[in-house]
């Protein structure tokens, strides 16, 4: 269910809005949403297999291009390496991170969380457009 539609139904259940208002809000929501089939950016549904990184840049007047394709399976296997890091190494890394102003506790990072992160990568698309460089990260 759409997140905004769920919010409207929650407000209706809590009595914050009347059924008529809820109906009007849902109708407005449907009007604002473009039909999925009309979008040219819609990717085929299915499990993504690869993470793509594409960089087009111009350095000193010369065009440069980087295309990288990494299997998501490799990322999944890679995150399991986190479980192999010795505790003393994690403690040292934590100390260095806090010294650099990044108070991040690596011991709290669990392989299951990293795996969940990789699982949801297929919904991620990052696009950066700059006059001299264009970066695109996506999964397919």
């Amino acid at each position: 269910m759409n997140e905004q539609r769920k919010d409207i139904l929650d407000m209706l259940a809590e009595g914050k809005i009347t059924p008529d208002e809820a109906e009007r809000l849902i109708a407005a929501l449907e009007r604002d949403q473009p039909p999925m089939a009309a979008s040219s950016e819609v990717r085929p549904k299915g499990k993504a297999k690869y993470l793509y990184l594409m960089v087009d840049s111009i350095d000193n007047g010369e065009p440069g291009r980087v295309n990288a394709r990494v299997p998501l399976q490799l990322l999944r296997a890679g995150v399991q390496l986190a479980a192999l890091i010795p505790p003393q190494a994690l403690a040292q890394a934590n100390a260095e991170l806090s010294r650099s102003g990044v108070p991040f506790d690596l011991t709290q990072l669990k392989p299951e969380q990293l795996e969940a992160l990789v699982e949801h990568l297929d919904e991620v698309t990052i696009e950066v457009d700059q006059p001299e460089a264009k970066v695109r990260v996506f999964c397919e």
Binding site: N67, A68, P71, A77, L84
Partner: protein, 85 residues
């Protein structure tokens, strides 16, 4: 498991170098060194209190997940391609 590693380098002078590395024969040829490296890795795991079998399992999974990896870099008239199949 990876079968073939392809490296292609295009130099600015126009020379193109292509290298195909069949992984399995190379692994077989290097197997004595790989066994030695595995022993050293096992000792390192014991020293740093990392579970040896888990470390080897993760390493093997990483190795087996390599097929499909591809890096293609173009910079002016220079280009490098590394592909694992």
């Amino acid at each position: 498991m990876p079968q073939l590693l392809t490296v292609r380098v295009q130099r600015p002078q126009g020379r193109l170098i292509r290298i195909w590395v069949p992984v399995l024969p190379v692994v077989l040829v290097l197997s004595p060194f790989l066994i030695l490296a595995a022993l050293v890795a096992a000792v390192a795991c014991l020293v740093y209190r990392v579970r040896v079998m888990r470390a080897f399992g993760t390493g093997w999974r990483l190795f087996c997940a390599l097929p499909g990896t591809r890096f293609d870099v173009h910079e002016g008239r220079t280009a490098v391609l590394v592909s694992i199949r």
